[in-house]
Amino acid sequence: MRVQAGGARIDRNRTITFTFDRQKLSAHPGDTLASALLANGIHLVGRSFKYHRPRGIVSAGAEEPNALVTVGEGALAEPNSRATMIELYDGLVARSQNAWPSVNFDLGALTGAASRFFPAGFYYKTFLGSAQRWTRLYEPFIRRMAGLGPAPTAPDPDHYDKMHAHCETLVIGGGVAGRAAAAVASGRVILLDEGSPQDTIKGVSLLSRTTAFGRYDDNLVMAVERVTDHLPPAQRSGPRQRLWQIRAGKIILATGAHQQPLVFPGNDLPGVMLASAALTYLRDFGVLVGRRIILVGDDSGADKLRAGGAEVTCFPAISAAHGRKRVSSVTAPDCRRHVCDAVLMGGHWQPAIHLHSHVGGKSVFDADKHCFVPVADSAQPFSVGACAGEVPAVTPVPPVVGPKAFIDLQNDVTIADIDLATREGFVSVEHLKRYTTTGMATDQGKLSNLNALSRLADNLASTPGAVGTTTFRPPYTPVTFGALAGHDRDLLIDPARHTPVHDWHVANDAKFEDVGQWKRPWFYPRAGEDMHRAVQRECKAVRNGVGMLDASTLGKIDIQGPDAAAFLNLVYTNAWLKLDIGRARYGVMCQEDGMVFDDGVTVRVGEQKFIMFTTTGNAARVLDHLEDYLQTEWPHLKVWLTSVTEHWAAAVVTGPQARALLSKVVSGTDLSNQAFPHLAMREARIAGHAVRLYRISFTGELSYEVHCDARFGAAVWEALFSAGAPFGVTPYGTESMHVLRAEKGYIIIGQETDGTVTPDDLGLSWAIAKSKPDFIGKRSLARPDMLRADRKQLVGLLPVSPIPEGAQITAHAGDTAMLGHVTSSYHSPTRNCPFALGLVASGRTRIGTTVHARFGDHSVTCAVIDAVLYDPEGVRIDG
């Protein structure tokens, strides 16, 4: 209850109200939820994880294992919040957890009644039988019993901010030691403190309500600032929390220490708490946790409590505490019962060495203080105050063995469980932790690890130092997922890239396809068209008239220097030394393992100048690959590589009418086939802008790629499109592009290839210059497995009915042995029949035979044909 003494952090002149389990209660500004509940005489606030035992408030800080509640309502509800860390605001709504129907009467407590049959690891010993039985029969029940707070049901309406900061000195912990260290620190100084704002220090940026939860390599500290959680929802604006990524020159730790609970039967009853917590509640909040207090162990706080108005009896130890939903008496060593309403545990202290340990800081056991203290190390942060081991030397109170003597309060691990685990051979601390789950609760063992490993040490006639601790890992206290994501939310989790012509595509009702990070037009449906009809229309337009495709996403690399041709000769599988200026050539690129990596056309723009086109998806990878070889393997080659992917916007104009279309807008070059043949480049102007025209065809039709400075990409595209109006020019997307190229047997990297396909497998051996002494991948192509006759080879397939991409191929309808799979499958607009490409074991020798496409329960007969279905003579390429 509230008393006159103490209350440093509260404003007694003002009263605010809040509700706990629908009960309306009052408190003062400055209260935490825990102090407010205690002020209202409420000790029972939750139920334990396993046995659903009544639990109260144990601590006054971040280490709280028991007082977990759900704060807020609806989409703002937050489960498993520690009442000791929640700053109270007017109208706060909190609910108890893990109890049904209520925290006062919880049917789950039945498991507690039968607890003797559920010792540590009981589930490993029963529920045996088939996996099916476990999954369907036993597990669902266990899952319902487990878990703490309710699962959220609505998307999080809040925003989370992220901030990078740099400083010369970072001090973590705003207590006396931390503030003193910060005051004398040099350079930019940042001081982090978990609590509400305190007085500022000159020259120090003080971050309050900020918890450093992890330390990483090279003095990086991650912290989370609770920006608006302490305000009533109506008054909140701005981000809810802010993730701080702080790179420090020097780190000083002042993270304090945690008093440890005592172990005796009934040590988990509401009303049993840490002595230090009771003193904090009195000093900061004017709250006395009981009138008749039993103080066990370290009794140094007795006088303060008496001054606060309590009757205090001190014992060096007790053998048990009794009560049901609140402690009502204890059994003293003299076996006499003593009535009480609170039991305070004056245990020994464990420095908070978590951040010291996250990046390999060592610690040793201090037998006098019975705790682990950090080992100073120049490579580790500097610890000051309690976390450095400057804690009161309190003689540990020996544990009392007996029923319901808990080591891990939240996870219901008793001292008997520790003994059982020892008996069964789980004598490594890590085994102990994993077998009993001690230290795995949401307090991460802050109040259980030391007691657990001390007991283990006793059982083994060893010492805590010899037994050692489990590894300390981030986070120090739990961190909200949303804060970890920061601004990487929704559409921002990965940049979407757009071409200069994007708005035109949107205005023309394009559906888009994700290709890598790029948004590419997929198809342009007209009213009432589905994809199939739209694609057939687009393809026919290209075959019979003229179509336009936005090819701006193609990778483009400027390659210059006296050794440029020699360099190309090493990175492509075919020959590059003899290519006339203004001419283009198709090339295949392998990785060093001989597998096809990318393909595309490269053009000789000048004596020592080339421009390489790569696939959209591989643009960055190809440049990295080339830079890597140039810088690290062949630095003697005089070559410059520069990405110009985004400098050039590119429009494909393709179809029998392509030349007619261009002749309406192009000036400065002769477009006739004689003057400007296939696989050639010309410079010209369109709508006043300089353009490069390339005769490159991915459709089999007469095709021009029109490249211009991306700043004018939209203008040039629109000029071309309006020039095409008389010819019924049709914009087409990636889907039609796929169909058109497939009819010609042209491959798509990543569709016909999957990292296991060689150029020869694709029928591209014509593009391998065997005479060249070396190129990337050459040696690997000579390995035994590359010469096998039964390698999968690309062929065309004519199925009797449509087959899906990814269908597997077998020799006969009933086979399970697979010969390969269907890589591409479409409806041919020119032949008006389904057709496909596939990789088939020794496929080229199977041309003229039939195979079976297998998918679902279907089997479709396919004739194996040459991969080129359309215009095998290639006569249409010149229009």
């Binding site: 490993y124 699962a151 959220p152 999080d156 949401t442 961190v479 939310r489 290709v515 569709q751 697979m818």
Partner: protein
């Protein structure tokens, strides 16, 4: 060894559980063993168990540097599945999955293999193409697999957001219903207990420091607990394979990297299956305790520190919350890292070596846990017979010379 059962648990309940004995003997090293397994992780312990059970070789020791199951066995996200693309992989992992289905009974230890189903999401046309190819291949290989359209995906996994305008829209998913999760620690303990009962010596805190060789064979193993003679040696030390192999004079095609994972605070049941996404490298499930178990990516630089870098976690969360917007207010409770050794083709090595009596099992990368029973089973056969088990044969070291790789990341589902 006490037999585990509901009855024995009840019985012990009445005498304060004083009757439970050590789950595996605390063995002291003998002078010589027929087979010495280096590495007391799940794979090593399973190998020892099957050597004893299936091949009658019981003079076996398992040497563990620290505590059994302390490596990747106890650090993974517990996912068990067999939906691999290539025939060789599908056979290996489904062999394991079949053993998983009866493992609790076989070991008399509940490893909590929960067949709650694994979804692999497809976010673009390429994903869909690859996923359907995989489904068709798996079915012909006799492995259960099906394709779900978006509507069916949310029906199977309600908290998943399938809105089409998402950055990574869910365009469908493959589902393997027999797949799921298992209790990782229990697998190590269960195999240790069963192997120990068959006479296998499990020797913890015993670090290998070198090998004594005679000609092309290993005669003895130098350890922190003295020299131990060995007829045959099986090396199963994920993460540290290169280190131990080097002591035997071998170099391997593996690299060691840190793989991170994390769990949320426990909450009431919300996610009843495993969800994996290749494109955004998310894999998530909910444990029986109520924690969301989330796999993060690997750090691309070499590391033996079991300590990951933060950007990996950060990236993970954005992607996870895009798929599960309702998870945003949950909290990360624990994070950790493990050291995985990765092969160039993302497939394991189960193989004889240039040394007559040395056998190696490594390179499982980020996906070893799911294979534990199968890996131990075929490795035991390979050691006992001196010839590879048919399922293990394609995973021999010589594939790196012939070029016959089993490239699972060319078209890989999340390698995990």
């Amino acid at each position: 060894m006490n037999r585990f059962s509901a009855f024995s648990l009840l019985k012990e309940g009445f005498n304060g559980h004083r009757g439970w004995a050590r789950q595996w003997r605390d063995a002291v090293p003998k002078a010589r063993y027929d087979v010495v397994i280096i590495g007391g992780g799940g794979h090593g312990l399973a190998t020892a168990y099957y050597l004893a059970k299936q091949h009658g070789i019981t003079k076996v020791a398992v040497l563990e540097k620290g505590w059994i199951g302390g490596g990747n066995t106890g650090r993974n996200t517990t996912i068990v599945r067999s939906n691999y693309l290539w025939d060789e992989s599908a056979r290996l992992y489904d062999h394991a999955l079949k053993l998983w289905e009866g493992l609790s009974d076989d070991l008399n230890y509940n490893v909590m293999f929960s067949q709650r189903g694994v979804l692999n999401l497809a976010h673009n046309l390429g994903d869909m193409r690859e996923a359907k190819r995989r489904v068709n291949a798996l079915r012909l290989n006799g492995v259960d697999s099906e394709w779900l359209e978006p509507a069916a995906v949310t029906k199977f996994c309600p908290p998943l957001d399938i809105s089409r305008d998402a950055r990574y829209p869910v365009m469908g998913a493959t589902l393997q219903r027999r797949a799921g999760t298992a209790r990782h620690d229990a697998v190590a303990w269960g195999y240790a207990r069963a192997a120990s009962a068959l006479g296998v010596d499990i020797i913890q805190n015993c670090e290998v420091t070198g090998f004594a060789r005679h000609g092309g064979a290993i005669t003895a193993i130098e350890t922190s607990r003295g020299r131990i003679g060995a007829g045959k040696v099986g090396m199963v030390v994920a993460g540290h394979s290169s280190v131990v192999a080097e002591m035997a004079g071998l170099r391997l095609p593996v690299e060691s990297h840190t793989l991170q994972a994390l769990v949320s605070e426990p909450i009431k049941p919300v996610l009843d299956c495993v969800v994996m996404s290749n494109a955004v490298h998310v894999y998530v499930s909910q444990s029986d305790k109520g924690e969301l178990v989330i796999g993060a990516g690997i750090d691309e630089y070499l590391s033996y520190s079991q300590r990951g870098s933060f950007p990996v976690i950060e990236h993970q969360m954005g992607a996870l919350l895009a798929l599960f917007p309702t998870f945003s207010r949950l909290r990360m409770l624990r994070s950790w890292g493990g050291t995985v050794d990765i092969c160039p083709d993302a497939s394991p090595i189960i193989s004889k070596t240039p040394l007559d009596n040395l056998f190696i099992n490594c390179g499982w990368g980020t996906g070893g846990f799911k294979a534990t029973p199968g890996s131990g089973h075929v490795f035991a056969h390979t050691i006992a017979r001196g010839e590879p088990h048919p399922i293990a044969a394609p995973f021999a070291l010589d594939r790196f010379v012939t070029g016959r790789l089993i490239d699972e990341h060319g078209a890989a589902a999340v390698a995990h």
